[in-house]
């Protein structure tokens, strides 16, 4: 928000209400995360007996985290996911942006056909089996590229990006063309800087998507070394589920069994913390405005 001159009384009252409302929203939305963090450090038997709001960790233990990090698979998971995020997000953004640029051109004769072709794929799909067969026949089975290429253009993001590109004033493009700029130059030098907030937001979505993904790896990857982080966590979590029906009666040291319950929470914290560390750096790109005037000339 840019403030122009002094605020009126109505404006100030609004600000006060707004602030209160946003604080309430913050409290409500932060609770699940706080609950998870507290639970992940809590003593498992006390956690089991507890109902209702968690105001603080019940006791303190690192047992859950120890179980999560016990195996080396986690390190592999982080490496694989890091690869997917860097390479994958870049591939996605490049392909999607280029195609969004194409679709943004209203004067293209085949624009409508292409757009419809693309949107149809959002609704009609043959399912996992034929997709798997295609991936396999391309030789991508058990390759990390199988986790990147089949989804390299997300139609939903494509549409958003197209809308953003269409929002760029045509005058800019025209003047660049008059100066003799080619399409790619226009795309990179004129369009991209104008849609930075959208690019930032979509890169975030894509990166988070890769960070959270596990279901594709389940099908396409057979070597456990290549499992992305979430699949590793999920494997550890489900196999150690204390309520699973496979009898796992305990002896002395039974408490180790209890820590498995904590893992449900520890795995989430382990997943969120890295994202939240990097998040502020990306956030500023889509929360502050851009000055078109400053970019001109």
């Amino acid at each position: 928000m840019i403030q122009y001159g002094k605020k009126s009384l109505g404006s100030k009252i609004f600000d006060a209400f707004n602030t209160i409302l946003l604080v309430i929203i913050s409290i409500i939305t932060i609770y699940p995360f706080i609950y998870v963090v507290f639970a992940s450090f809590s003593d498992p038997s006390r956690l089991m007996a507890h109902r209702g709001v968690l105001w603080h960790p019940l006791g303190f233990t690192l047992g859950g985290y120890r179980l999560v990090f016990r195996s080396d698979d986690i390190i592999n998971g982080y490496l694989v996911t890091a690869f997917l995020i860097t390479v994958g997000t870049t591939c996605n953004m490049v392909m999607t942006t280029v195609f969004a640029y194409v679709l943004s051109k209203k004067n293209l004769l085949w624009n409508r056909a292409l757009t419809i072709m693309v949107i149809i794929t959002m609704y009609f799909s043959g399912g996992m089996i034929p997709k798997f067969m295609v991936v396999k026949s391309l030789g991508l089975y058990d390759s990390l590229w199988a986790l990147i290429l089949p989804n390299v253009i997300s139609t939903f993001l494509l549409i958003i990006l197209r809308t953003a590109i269409r929002g760029v004033p045509e005058s800019l493009e025209e003047s660049a063309r008059l100066d003799g700029a080619g399409e790619i130059t226009i795309l990179v030098k004129i369009i991209l800087p104008m849609i930075v907030p959208t690019l930032a937001a979509l890169s975030l979505f894509t990166a988070v998507g890769y960070w959270n993904s596990w279901s594709e790896a389940l099908i396409y990857i057979k070597t456990p070394d290549k499992y992305p982080l979430q699949l590793v966590l999920r494997t550890i979590l489900i196999q150690n589920n204390a309520t699973s029906q496979i009898a796992t009666a305990g002896y002395s040291g039974y408490q180790r069994e209890e820590y498995k319950r904590l893992m449900k929470y520890s795995t989430i914290v382990v997943s969120i913390v890295p994202v939240m560390c990097i998040y502020p750096f990306i956030q500023k790109y889509f929360t502050s405005g851009i000055m078109i005037g400053a970019l001109k000339g």
Binding site: S45, M48, A49, H50, R51, L67, R70, S71, D73, L79, V80, A82, F83, T86, V87, T90, M128, I129, F132, M133, K136, Y141, S143, L144, S215, L218, I219, K222, T223, P224, D225, K226, L231, R234, T235, I236, I238, Q239, N240, A242, T243, Q245, I246, A247, T248, A249, G250, Y251, S252, G253, Y254, R256, E257, E258
Partner: protein
């Protein structure tokens, strides 16, 4: 601005290059599985002649992720099998149970096979017979009978096992988990607070009516001693996604019915469904009783909407008298309660008797000598790879006495030994590890529990791990005394019948499940039970049961 962008680009480029490099490096090294000697790099579909080193067999099955074991190749017993047969098993497949089915289905549907493949063929369209016809599984009985003598010896010696694992025409293609002793199946049931019974001077109930008086006493007489009538005499939970409620399941059987499963009618011996028994009369008695208990506050008001964690919390807070008990609960519940109250104990409750005076048991594992719909098949891929001989040898060995010992107990002298009386016992490496409990540690050396491997389950090995408290031993004995006449073995429907069955039963189960609750909590009057019975019949329930009946007839005539 330009400088910043250049810097950013440079950083990204460096990251990309390092990542790609490390990924490429990983690609070339990841074909080697971690540790242990004698491993050659595997790739699906290659085999080596015996003279060149171990034969590689590919095996698609659920992986393992336990505290001490994350890779089957690290298990001592697997290594021993590999050593004895000079093979190297390349395990493929996701580690998690639920996800396994969908992943495996995609493998099968796309024709991606491994030499050995584990699957629940009830999830295969048309069942095992179709899998053979489709060229997925090999009909071992037909082509290689003499190569797997140990297996066929078992079939010939035990009628029930033979019926369970072969198809109607005698085809044998599935190698599954086989039980040595059927009473192992009685590993769950309901449990009750013995200390509450003692405090109130009550006997363990053996019938529904006795249970009712006990529940009333629990409710009124404050057995947890805190001065409040906060006890929940009977508590239950359900697993999200299924309709299953467990404590209720145990009680339903006292009325001659099985909860949500096809069963044998206790009066006619025909295959039927719970709501049809005695034309709905038993169902009516059941919901009338439960409704009474609910209204009197004997049944947790949230019994049908809470999940396992809510139940655990209530148990931990010393509130619950009777509930469903899994074997592990004897430890975690009892131990936790004893921290505050040393006398607190859950003990097993036997199957209860209803009006018929017979303690019908609800646990079908008690009549299933083999986990016969799910198991490992040798696929046509093994023939293509040329590893078929070794696969047959492996399977045959797994069912031999030696193989059984290795799978259930591990390696003699390493994980177990035999005492003067010929009884096997666990060595300190397994039983006394300073960091891990015996239940965790044993997984590194052997597989004494149900693990969906082809094997003969050793009752002894299992009991030595699972029945390790006096309460669990006693409970297991009590539960094993239940009457089994309601229980059906594993049946497979014919291909065309199964989708009709699924269509009808999805509707029927939905109708029964929601009305069952409504009758109990009183939002639907009890005299409308007959309307529900009629509704189910209109949906085609009797036709669905007739499919099951023919499957049963075929089974019994095998």
């Amino acid at each position: 601005m330009k400088r910043k962008r250049a810097l950013l680009f440079f950083i990204i480029a460096t990251l990309l290059i390092t990542m790609t490099f490390s990924a490429c490096r990983k690609d070339s090294t990841d074909t080697q599985t971690p540790d242990t000697s004698g491993k050659t790099p595997e790739s699906s579909g290659t085999s080596k002649p015996a003279s060149e080193g171990p034969v590689v067999i590919t095996y698609y099955r659920p992986g393992v992720s336990r505290a001490v074991l994350t890779d089957w190749n690290d298990a001592v017993w697997v290594q021993e099998l590999e050593k004895r047969l000079n093979i190297d098993i390349d395990f493929q497949g996701p580690a998690t149970g639920d996800d396994y089915t969908s992943a495996a289905q995609i493998m099968l549907a796309s024709g991606t096979l491994t030499d050995l493949f584990y699957f629940n063929f009830n999830q295969y369209d048309g069942g095992l017979a179709a899998a053979i016809e489709d060229g997925v599984a090999i009909n071992i009985g037909e082509k290689y009978r003499d190569k797997v003598p140990n297996w066929f010896k078992i079939l010939e010696s035990d009628e029930r096992i033979r019926r369970a694992v072969t198809l109607e025409d005698g085809t044998s293609a599935l190698f599954c988990h086989v039980e040595e002793d059927l009473k192992r199946g009685a590993y769950w049931g309901s449990g009750i607070r013995q200390d509450w019974l003692d405090k109130l001077n009550l006997q363990k109930p053996t019938s529904i009516d006795e249970l009712y008086s006990v529940l009333v006493a629990f409710k009124d007489q404050d057995p947890n001693g805190n001065g409040q009538k906060d006890e929940i005499p009977l508590c239950d939970y359900f697993i999200p996604g299924s309709n299953f409620m467990f404590a209720i399941m145990d009680i339903v059987s006292a009325f001659g019915m099985l909860y949500q499963e096809p069963q044998l009618d206790p009066y006619t011996g025909k295959v039927t469904y719970w709501i049809l028994v005695n034309d709905g009369e038993n169902f009516k008695k059941l919901v009338t009783t439960l409704n009474k208990w609910y209204m009197e506050g004997l049944l947790d008001p949230e019994f049908m909407s809470q999940d396992g964690t809510a139940l655990d919390a209530k148990v931990a807070n010393d509130l619950v008298g009777v509930t469903h008990i899994w074997p592990s609960n004897f430890n975690n519940y009892n131990r936790m309660l004893r921290e505050k109250n040393p006398k607190a104990t859950y003990v097993g409750l036997p199957a209860l008797k209803g009006e018929d005076g017979i303690p019908y048991g609800p646990n079908s594992a008690m009549v299933r000598p083999a986990a016969s719909t799910e198991g490992t098949v040798i696929t046509t891929q093994a023939e293509k790879d040329g590893t078929i001989e070794k696969c047959l040898e492996l399977i045959n060995f797994m069912y031999s006495e030696e193989g059984t010992d290795i799978i259930n107990w591990g390696v003699r002298g390493v994980s177990y030994d035999i005492d003067a009386n010929g009884k096997k016992y666990w060595l300190p490496a397994v039983a006394n590890d300073p960091e891990y409990t015996i239940n965790d540690m044993v997984n590194k050396y052997a597989l004494p529990t149900f693990g969906a491997w082809p094997k003969i389950m050793s009752y002894e090995a299992w009991a030595s791990i699972e029945l390790n408290t006096p309460e669990s031993e006693e409970a297991h004995r009590l539960w094993a005394e239940a009457d089994t006449r309601l229980l059906l073995p594993n049946l497979t429907l014919g291909a065309s019948e199964s989708s009709d069955y699924a269509r009808i039963m999805n509707d029927v189960n939905t109708a029964i499940a929601e009305n069952f609750i409504k009758f109990i909590i009183g939002t639907r009057p009890l005299d409308e039970v007959s309307d529900l019975v009629k509704q189910c019949k209109d949906m085609g329930l009797e036709k669905a049961m007739s499919y099951y009946q023919s499957a049963y007839d075929r089974y019994m005539s095998k």
